[in-house]
């Protein structure tokens, strides 16, 4: 039912880029169904006290009002997750059974591919094509990846120096709190929820209480989650309830999350934060390919990627040609309604980001970088920004230091590691030694050589320096959701040691 309404909506929107309130109100009730707060063992519509609007960034208009969870709702969600972990079937199911549930989830995601993609595009502004052909399939793929890990979480038997039998058990950590960003909402959901569930944890289908979702604001709901001591104080006050908090977002907020986690119960923290990733074009690069890849590395997802290649370093010998072609490419970039075929760039997520980007552009101009193209908003409605290219950027300019999170490319001449961030890097070269040297020298969590944004499920992702703590995806992500228990037993007269 929802799919038909949404596809009907899509065909209407092709002919006009404005969605009038009348046309959207059919879908509002559908959206309400998805915007649950604290889904406990009760049916899906809890008493909603407050709501906050979800916007369509093409126009700034409200799509729907979403239940706004606050500290109390977080408490309920954590309680439910705690109960599900301590008493519920999830951690006690065999790993195989858990994997079957995760596989079923993936099947359902595939079945509802287009609906999910439409919701994502509508609320986020990214192109429908990207959501439907790349992100939602990736969501399903990630859940299948983690389903395959569920029954392969191995500890070790360990050789000891004396007569002891030693084994390490990798146990689920308990209740995981996860704060998910807005730039890739579905994908980030999979990066967090997938491994946590595969390891047997529950999260603040699935058996009741295992997965709880609370929508709300950072300073209220988010902070409550980060500083949660675990509700049931009588039972657990002397016991560390071992909640972990996994956060993806800006570095500033990441600091707050870590502080709150430390001040409350020392919960483990993984952080995926911002970046100012260098994209390095070497002298021997194929310029046309490099231009296209560098363009993609920055402008993908409206520039709203933590790992965007936002400092493009070009060897001085090829700088002029590269710049000319990059400018031409940016001018060719098609901006418009993300539901329309052929559009490459949709609106930025909301007015706050939109204003921030325009301020950074202004600072770029004021600091005497050369504005090659773009530099202003696109159109008169919504949060569209023109694809913007700056050249003659110096390392100490604000646009070279701060994460802009928008379609603003900065082209510099060579020097890579001068940043407090360390999320990713791209290297474009044919030379074996250059590739080896640079990939080892760059202080970044991912180095892409002659490619960018390759996000296979098995490839671990995370930051060096202030870009974060911990890794997501791949086998490494499992470590975030497991605790290692060593079990040591004295042996009498062992046959061997």
């Amino acid at each position: 039912m929802a799919a038909r309404r949404i596809s009907g909506f899509i065909s209407r929107s092709l002919s006009s880029s404005i969605a009038s309130p009348g046309r959207t109100c059919n879908l509002r009730s559908e959206i309400q169904r998805f915007s649950t707060a604290a889904a406990l063992q009760e049916p899906i519509t809890p008493p909603v006290r407050k709501t906050f609007p979800a916007f369509d960034p093409r126009t700034g208009e409200v799509i729907a009002n979403v239940a706004e969870g606050d500290a109390e709702d977080i408490n309920r969600a954590v309680s439910a997750a705690r109960k599900a972990f301590d008493e519920g079937p999830w951690p006690k199911m065999t790993a195989y059974e858990r994997s079957c549930v995760l596989l079923r989830f993936a099947d359902l995601v595939e079945k509802h591919n287009d609906e999910l993609a439409a919701l994502e595009s509508w609320n986020n502004g990214k192109t429908y094509e990207q959501a439907a052909k790349s992100e939602v399939p990736m969501l399903a793929r990630l859940f299948r990846y983690y389903a395959g890990w569920a029954d392969k979480i191995h500890g070790l038997t360990v050789p000891a120096d004396g007569p002891y039998h030693v084994q390490t058990l990798h146990e689920p950590i308990g209740v995981a709190g996860q704060i998910i960003p807005w730039n890739f909402p579905l994908l980030m959901f999979a990066w967090k929820v997938g491994p946590a569930l595969a390891c047997g944890n529950t999260i603040a289908g699935l058996p009741p209480g295992v997965l709880n979702v609370v929508s709300g604001f950072g300073p209220t709901a988010g902070a409550a989650l980060a500083s949660h001591m675990d509700v049931d104080k009588v039972r657990y006050s002397h016991v560390n309830p071992c909640i972990i908090i996994a956060f993806t977002g800006s570095t500033e907020t990441g600091k707050i999350v870590q502080e709150l986690a430390a001040k409350s119960n020392l919960k483990a923290v993984t952080l995926e934060l911002g970046g100012k990733s260098p994209f390095i074009v070497c002298e021997d690069a194929d310029i046309d390919k490099a231009v296209e890849l560098a363009h993609f590395a920055l402008f993908f997802n409206q520039g709203q990627c933590c790992c965007a290649g936002s400092r493009t370093f070009v060897h001085e010998r090829v700088h002029e040609e590269f710049l000319e072609k990059s400018k031409a490419r940016a001018l060719r970039r098609t901006v418009g309604d993300p539901f329309q075929k052929g559009i490459e760039q949709g609106p930025q997520i909301d007015s706050e980001q939109f204003e921030k980007i325009l301020r950074y552009i202004k600072s770029g101009v004021e600091s005497n970088a050369t504005l090659e193209c773009g530099g202003d908003r696109f159109g008169s409605k919504g949060f569209y920004v023109q694809p913007t290219v700056f050249s003659n950027v110096k390392d100490d300019m604000l646009i070279a230091k701060d994460e802009i999170f928008g379609p603003v490319q900065s082209i510099l001449k060579f020097k890579a590691n001068a940043t407090r961030y360390g999320l990713a890097a791209g290297v474009f070269t044919q030379n074996l030694d250059t590739a080896n040297r640079l990939s080892r020298a760059l202080r970044a969590g991912t180095v892409w050589v002659n490619c960018f944004d390759v996000f296979d499920a098995a490839i671990p992702f995370g930051g060096y320096k202030m870009s974060g703590i911990g890794r997501e995806k791949g086998i490494y992500s499992l470590h975030n959701y497991l605790q290692v228990k060593a079990v040591v037993t004295a042996l009498k007269n062992p046959a061997w040691l």
Binding site: A95, Y96, S99, L103, R141, R144, Y145, A147, G148, W149, A150, D151, K152, H154, H165, L432, D433, N436, R437, R440, A441, A457, A458, I475, T489, L491, K492, N493, P494, A495, W496
Partner: protein, 483 residues
């Protein structure tokens, strides 16, 4: 399988149904053998012929190997991401789940296995196994290395290529999947030779594999005769004299079940019976030597005989049957001859020792006590429902006696004492040690033999090792900020 009159109850399965797949499966097609010859496969419950199966010979194997070679060198299977192979394998698992009764029927008819066991335990376990390896296909990691000089190195784990898989008859479906699943996950292509005693399940599985989307040439099945005694040794010799292909062997066993004084008598008796009689004793890991500590001996033996009397031998389609017929005439006669030896060597026959009825290859569950350690029935693998019981005094003694075998496949320990459990499990030279349980298999738990029980593992991530070669890639690095 729906019968001609539309019925599906197990009673009607007594009639031989139409067997859909009796030909060789090469390069995606079911084909006759080049010679046109066939051989019969028999229902051991009735001695009736079930079907005539294509009899492949050297030329047919050559064709199959060629198909597999091409599929590996030029085809898409090894070049697909592991995730895509996993997807197809999951589909294969789904199809098996949709055809459980079909496969169970073929196993019961062809190998005499108990139908209720097939539908509830054996066949469901094979789709689980496939799913385990489907989930492993994209998780085969090599390493980046720490070298002691200015070089960078890493290992790539590459599929080995074309593999030959020789499958036994005691668990025809389970063994087929056990061998194929990790090979498929690793990206190999294969030629499977199922045992001639029970070739039907393999051919049906080939049909499902094709439906699932396994590309032509990746999985080939050549049925035919084996001509072999001492198969394992011959295979290794053949491999050495041909092209040094690596071999992994899962062979026989004479596994000890060791019951200590502190054991619960009921539980111990159940385990002993289960361990030695399950699947009519036709399991490589069966606990064919049962060591009982003297303190518990008399009570246990009484319990054992009492329980053995309730062990029903009969038509494997009958839900109350515990034990079906031996797989064929040859096995049947072999087991009876060992029982004869046992009697002549001076062991005491407590129960059984004779054929059961004269229709089909049924043998009574047989228990000997006072078996001498060096007697034939204590040394040779009998592969029938025959238990040899020995009394022991101390832990050290039973460890020595338990290890006094050229085999080393499995072992069982029944005790609640932590120190005994740890001491004995570390001292017994066997590939799997079961404590207070037996015949526990899991997709995630590697098993394989020590000593002459073979080498190489099945189940678990270790099972992939047979199908993978490790390649190290090394290159100099310059000016690395760290080493």
């Amino acid at each position: 399988m729906v019968m001609a009159d539309g019925s599906t109850s197990s009673e009607n399965y007594k009639r031989i149904p139409n067997i859909g797949f009796t030909n060789l499966f090469i390069n995606g097609d079911f084909v006759h053998s080049i010679s046109g010859k066939t051989f019969e496969t028999i229902d051991p419950s009735t001695k009736q012929v079930i079907a005539n199966i294509a009899q492949g010979d050297k030329e047919d194997v050559d064709l199959a190997v060629k198909a597999a070679r091409q599929a590996f060198d030029d085809g898409c299977w090894p070049r697909m991401p592991g995730y895509m192979r996993g997807k197809i394998m999951n589909k294969f698992a789904d199809l098996i789940d949709e055809n459980i009764e079909e496969l169970a029927l073929l196993e019961t008819l062809d190998a005499g296995k108990v139908f209720s066991f097939e539908t509830t335990v054996d066949i469901p376990s094979i789709s689980k196994e496939l799913r385990y390896f489907a989930g492993a296909a994209d998780k085969i990691h090599g390493k980046t290395l720490k070298l002691s000089s200015e070089f960078q190195g890493y290992t790539l784990l590459e599929p080995i290529g074309v593999v030959g898989l020789i499958i036994p008859w005691n668990f025809p479906s389970a063994m087929f999947i056990l061998k194929c699943a990790p090979a498929l996950a690793a990206g190999c292509t294969m030629v499977v030779k199922p045992a001639e005693q029970a070739p039907l399940p393999a051919l049906y599985l080939a049909h499902l594999a094709k439906l699932a989307g396994i590309p032509d040439g990746v999985l080939n099945v050549v049925t035919g005769l084996g001509h072999i005694a001492e198969v394992g040794r011959r295979i290794m010799q053949a491999s050495a004299t041909s092209n040094l292909k690596t071999v992994s062997l899962e062979l026989g066993g004479k596994s000890p079940l060791i019951i200590f004084d502190d054991a619960d008598v009921d539980q111990a008796a159940d385990l002993a019976l289960f361990g030695s009689l399950a699947n009519k004793g036709e399991i490589c890991v069966c606990s064919s030597r049962v060591f009982v500590q003297e303190g518990i001996y008399d009570e246990l033996m009484k319990k054992l005989v009492e329980k053995a009397k309730t062990w029903i031998v009969g038509d494997p389609f009958d839900p109350s049957t515990c034990q079906g017929p031996q797989v064929d005439k040859k096995q049947y006669e072999r087991v009876l001859s060992y029982i004869d030896h046992g009697k002549r060597e001076g062991a005491t026959l407590l129960i059984g020792g004779k054929p059961c009825g004269d229709e089909g290859y049924f043998i009574e569950p047989t228990i000997f006590e006072n078996v001498a350690d060096d007697s034939l029935i204590a040394r040779d693998e009998i592969f029938g429902p025959v238990m040899a019981v020995m009394k022991f005094k101390t832990v050290e003694e039973v460890i020595k006696r338990g290890n006094a075998t050229s085999y080393g496949l499995a072992a069982g320990i029944v005790t609640n004492d932590l120190n005994i459990a740890n001491r004995v499990s570390r001292s017994i030279r066997a590939g799997i040690v079961w404590i207070n349980c037996y015949h526990n298999f899991d997709s995630g738990c590697p098993i394989g033999g020590y000593k002459m029980s073979g080498f190489g593992k099945d189940h678990g991530m270790e099972a992939l090792q047979k199908y993978i070669k490790t390649k190290a890639v090394v290159t100099p690095i310059y000016d690395s900020p760290w080493l």
